[in-house]
């Protein structure tokens, strides 16, 4: 369906790792995007500003991509609004219930050799693959 792009994937992954490392070295924080966002949406006094700055940074980074690498937003597949609403609800609810997403569990947790994060990552890749399988190979043939 898409080309295999290991070099750009590896390069982008290294930037993600560097960003997460800087957050640990300077601020002492683990980068879990779902947790950072949840802390902005349900603020706790004294623990919100750094989160808002990080989320703001993501959007600024997005604007830089839009100028310099517009292909980053060549989504390829964009589900219907109804499917995106369901998907968004599942992602928001699931990441809070499971205490993390691709960044917190998949990158930071696994790199810390956390068994919890390894279990979570295996689980969300498995159910993600199951849904993709159902949508692509069962429902649409």
């Amino acid at each position: 369906m898409t080309d295999f792009t290991p070099i750009s994937a590896l390069l982008g992954g290294c930037l993600i790792g560097l960003s997460a490392s800087a957050m640990l070295l300077f601020d002492g924080k683990v980068v879990g995007i779902s947790g950072i966002l949840a802390g902005v949406l349900r603020p706790v006094r004294g623990d919100t500003l750094w989160r808002a700055c990080f989320i703001g940074g993501l959007v600024v980074g997005g604007l830089i991509l839009r100028m310099l690498l517009p292909a980053a937003f060549d989504f390829g597949i964009l589900r219907s609004p109804a499917a995106l609403v369901v998907g968004g609800l599942l992602v928001g609810f699931g990441t809070r219930l499971g205490n993390g997403c691709t960044s917190g569990h998949g990158v930071c947790g696994i790199a810390r050799l956390s068994v919890r994060s390894l279990v979570a990552t295996t689980t969300f890749i498995a159910t993600g693959a199951a849904v993709v399988y159902a949508l692509k190979h069962v429902l649409t043939g």
Binding site: M1, T2, P6, A9, L10, L11, G12, C14, L15, I16, L18, A20, L24, F26, G28, K29, I33, L37, R42, C53, F54, G57, L58, V59, G61, G62, L63, L65, L69, A72, F75, G76, I77, R79, P81, L84, V86, G87, L89, L90, V91, G92, F93, G94, R96, G98, N99, T102, C108, A111, R116, V119, A120, T127, A129, A130, V132, Y133, K136, H137
Partner: protein
């Protein structure tokens, strides 16, 4: 204040990393999750790159008694595998596979100005609030039953 500048710059670098790697493109995410089709393994390399850097950095940084701009490290300490972890990850994965977006790429992609991304992010925020509501109700119900059941604090 300095800590917030670091947060902002880290957010920018994180987003650029997501964009370069292909994580902001649902077609790549769904291609990665499509093990039964023409599997696109690219996104495994995102994890390999990020984990390799963070694996080394984490060990070096944790030798310090404190971070540079804060008085302590906030690192998860839980080791229990419970139903919330597995169920939550399963629910998240289903939404990830359905949409092709996880939280970081979705927020970054708001900058594209494409309305569908905004729809996803709003629904994601609603999902986060819904979780808070459900946990609040569960606590209330357990507190009102005089059985002495205690639930673990949410991490």
């Amino acid at each position: 204040m300095k800590a917030c500048v670091v947060s902002c710059i880290s957010g920018i670098v994180f987003a650029v990393g997501l964009g370069i790697s292909g994580m902001t493109r649902p077609v790549k995410v769904i291609g990665f999750l499509d093990f039964a089709g023409k599997w696109d393994a690219s996104l495994a390399f995102v994890m390999i790159g990020a984990i390799a850097i963070y694996f080394v950095a984490y060990r070096l940084i944790r030798r310090r008694s404190a971070p540079l701009l804060a008085d302590k490290f906030w690192v998860p300490s839980r080791t229990d595998i419970d139903l919330n972890l597995i169920g939550g990850a399963a629910i998240f994965g289903a939404g990830w596979g359905l949409s092709g977006f996880c939280p970081g790429p979705a927020i970054t992609s708001l900058a594209s100005g494409v309305p569908s991304v905004g729809v996803f992010v709003l629904a994601m925020a609603a999902g986060i609030y819904l979780h808070g509501l459900v946990i609040g109700l569960r606590r209330f119900r357990i507190r009102s039953v005089p059985s002495g059941i205690q639930i673990a604090a949410d991490a």
